[in-house]
Amino acid sequence: MSTVPPSDQLIEVAYLIATALFILSLKWLGSPATARRGVFAGEIGMLVAVLATLLHHGIVEYKWILIALVLGSIIGVPLGEVAMTAVPQRTALSHAFGALCVTLVGTAEFYLRAPAVPPFMMAVLSMEVILGSLTFTGSLMAAGKLQEILPQRPITYKGQNIVNLGLLGVAIVVAGVLVAHPEKMMLFPVIVGIPLVFGVMMIVPIGGADMPTVISLLNSYAGLSAAAMGFVLDSKLLIIAGALDGASGFILSVNMSKAMNRSFSNVLFGAFGQEQAGAAAGAQETRSVHSATPEEAAAILSAANKVVIVPGYGMAVAQAQHKVRELYDALTKRGIDVKFGIHPVAGRMPGHMNVLLAEADIPYDKLLDMDEINGEFAQADVALVIGANDVTNPAARHDHASPIYGMPILDVDKARTVMVIKRSMAAGFAGIDNPLYYLDRTLMLFGDAKSFVGSIVRELPGGNHE
């Protein structure tokens, strides 16, 4: 270490500072009050690390580095400006970019070092490019499905899991051969190419409802591949940033799969949408539902003391969040206590629904997650369900035959009156019948979420009639 020039020691100090700022950044993100400070800390850390790297004495040419930095910034700005409904696909796309960076650097590092690559180095390098390339194509596929460029329906075929696992197995075996014989350089493209194909195959059978889990899982892979890159380059900063990202993705994946009552392997290999179809088709409809008009709904709401609104992705699809805010304002003005109950998988990625409601100017202290709100339904006069279905299905609690049995749900059926805004009686995303709709206390409000909520606001006694 004695030959290290002083400027490089300075770089190491800069990386140390950046590392501390990154950890503080995530710590401050913990609560909404300090979260923006967290972003600032992250930005400073990034700036310090990048500037220090540019001072490296060994850099012989800056032209392409600067061109790339400018070009990346030009691409980055519109990606930071997307609509809030498009954040899930933007996030998937950024996982793809991150994985692309890691894979390209790993590939170049291999060819710069080969054939003399020590076994451990080759092992982490293999992990870097395998995880990186499968995350790259997998995330592109996920982004395509979320943007609805690709069909959202799961595509399955016989022997799919065997084919997929076989592909991954071959890549791992080839990586093992390379660890033992790094001089077999012609094998390297295999451990990039096969995972690229695997990434596509992995996402093909996954349906739209599982996207929150899949995005989180890809997030975790992206982090782990970056950490592996840190091992290859002997960069502690990168190891730590990758480990933090990997841990975050892992925690979110666990949250999401718990919220859907599924295991990882079930999400990746289960093809959810497909399994359900048969179960739901058999049920014959003889029960009747109660429906109500906007006037009736407005009358009940204005007489309530406590209202819990349960938004689902259907609300966002109908672009109803601003009308919901108007309803929130009108009810709050009457002294009615209005809260929102948010299921972890209410949006298309973890926390998505909170962002959509915050965008509509609904204060975040009224947005409660499932564990916080479930105790409050019993005291609520009205639970108003807007565009949510499966996450309110009481069958998940007691019906052992239900495909969603065991899934944690929002206990809307404990409220005195349940109102459900829904287009029709068609089954939800997973194609499962919802007994909530046939309860005596449930009123079905048939119509488009946006216009129905708008009508309720207009019909509220003493409200802003047109």
Binding site: P32, I65, A68, I75, G80, V87, T91, S94, P350
Partner: protein
């Protein structure tokens, strides 16, 4: 070399523990900004890409430059886009106390 490796493994392990503890405390309210922020931080991989593209290499210089440059573009777009959108989202979160009547 062997010792460096072990140090790296220690660093990874400790960072993973810190990650779990810190991120467990992030409110579910902010899970979307959390993902976009960690994504931006993860793009610190750009430092590896910069050195790959900029350092002098005895052989494979062209490959290093081409792949390194593309990698810088990809990572930089994540840095800029990730920080921008995280801050945009966080600006939207307001309490009922701070809202104008």
């Amino acid at each position: 070399m062997k010792l460096d490796l072990l140090t790296s493994l220690y660093v990874f392990m400790l960072a993973a523990f810190i990650g779990f503890e810190v991120i467990r405390r992030v409110s579910p309210l902010l899970h979307t900004p959390l993902m976009s922020l960690t994504n931006a931080l993860d793009a610190i991989a750009v430092v590896g890409a910069i050195l790959l593209a900029g350092l002098h290499h005895e052989h494979g210089a062209l490959l290093a430059k081409v792949l390194g440059t593309i990698a810088i573009v990809a990572a930089t777009s994540n840095i800029v886009g990730g920080f921008l959108i995280t801050d945009r989202m966080l600006r939207m979160f307001k309490t009922s106390g701070r809202r104008k009547p």
